[in-house]
Symmetry: C2
Amino acid sequence: ASAVALAEAEQRQAQLTKPPGSLGALEVLANRLSAMAGRCPAPIPEPAVIGLFAGDHGVCAQGVSPWPQEVTASMVMNIAGGGAAINALARQVGASLLVTDVGVATDHPAHPAIRNRVVARGTHDFTVEPAMTRDEARAALAVGIEAAEEAIAGGARCLLTGEMGIGNTTPASALIAVFTRTRPALVTGRGAGADDQMLSVKTQVIERGLKLHQPQTDDPLGTLAAIGGLEHAALAGFILAGAAHRVPVVLDGVIACSAACVAAAFAPAVRDYLVSGHAGAEPGIRTALAHLGLQPLVDLGMRLGEGSGAAVALPMVQAAARIMAEMATFAEAGIEAGS
Amino acid sequence: ASAVALAEAEQRQAQLTKPPGSLGALEVLANRLSAMAGRCPAPIPEPAVIGLFAGDHGVCAQGVSPWPQEVTASMVMNIAGGGAAINALARQVGASLLVTDVGVATDHPAHPAIRNRVVARGTHDFTVEPAMTRDEARAALAVGIEAAEEAIAGGARCLLTGEMGIGNTTPASALIAVFTRTRPALVTGRGAGADDQMLSVKTQVIERGLKLHQPQTDDPLGTLAAIGGLEHAALAGFILAGAAHRVPVVLDGVIACSAACVAAAFAPAVRDYLVSGHAGAEPGIRTALAHLGLQPLVDLGMRLGEGSGAAVALPMVQAAARIMAEMATFAEAGIEAGS
């Protein structure tokens, strides 16, 4: 990111017709967007594309989710048909959805709204063996990179992360535990509805996985392969490619945060291009965001995933840039700045 | 608001393709919107109109703002010209602005984007005499009612509060102190940039006003006249009329919260039609929201006013309704609900 553009943005904020600092987090964000774009004012981050990646998880065999694995395929079809929460949210905020099957285990019909990039039909149970091979993890990363580059080539100027995968908060918490060097119990939550008993199982499952594979922070590909997920890998690629093209990437919840930790382990500079949309209920989110140096824009107590936490924040990201681009200065408005 | 529609909405939330409660505050809000509309799903609250009322304040003579009074007129012209933060925000979220001069003290050119409904050219200094006569307060209330009814007749299905008035956080804090029965020191803040010394002056000014006029909570018109502002009165009318037409009213910051306290003193049922957009830095906001039984949707640390805190929240209000209206049920998606 550009320190020159950042300084220029900070100077410009002080000239706009408002008390200094009175737009709070929107000012900080507008300045960051300028640094990302390397110019002030930054272009308004639109159109926006939600890259939604779906996959299944062998670790579901351990009883880490109240939902049967088949729901991943059903929800992918629901999303393709426009009936999920993310569809309504995307329509509301003017974002388009790019849905990719990177590893759904259950058969589902082909659909024009689903890109078929299946690397494997679900991961393996990481309490028994690595979730993926290194080659599979690499292929899933490439799926995410391809999606981001396709979106950007199509005009996208803002990327949002989305996902669907029954059981995918378990590998997400495992990844966050590794990359933030935090005990699993502190970064494991209830996902889509685990009760106390299931939460305890999730935590133990992650502890067993970490003990078995001994994943290392300086080997992000190996860690991803050992304890991650196909959609987590795709999202890490999506994030890396967005940042490489200097396009802001708005993170959703705990899956996106875990993928961002992986991406940051590959290339620490990706942090500069990340925006946290929504805090969410999963404890791993706060830990991951602290590791990434990010503050969430909103906290509506959501815990859905799909990209919902990124979508609700998108209008704020665009508003931050629009304010910088379109507001008059004190000089233009003929006002003497206050003390 | 309709208890039947509320119950219907709560039942419908449980059938939509998401874990129960996973959309957090958006679910609560969607249910409230159904109660407001008296039907489930509620209509999506669009188009939205920001009712922005401008006025000046005699109490500025006491040194309660770092900005000269003339800035009110300059900023009204800036808003009319499209150069203020609220203009950029309104464009971003697809809301239109209805700007009314209800009491600006300084001469300014007529402008097609400014409705001239001047009741008085600023209030009097409430440390010396009542800010307004009862007839002026009543006339300013009527200006707000007229604006809301004009917006609704024009198709508005969501109203947002906005304001501009140098010094107007002082009467806002005074009104909140009265209606929430709280000591002024606890509900008085820095407004658009008061330093410690000025904050102390503001608090003392409010204490003097309350001692002089002894405003009563069971006389909202008299209280408004004694220590309020013309734009505060207009906003109270705007809120009352929106609620009377069962249209949701999204509140901005401390000025809007103080007007909502006035409106609730006239008619407690208005609470059911209010949505708090943004928490904000002014201490009076939290106190007023607690009194009104409202939770803010976001907190970006903004302290600008103009309607900015309502505008940033508007897409969330619309998203809440859209989710309820457009999401598929588990039955429609062929999914068995999880445990």
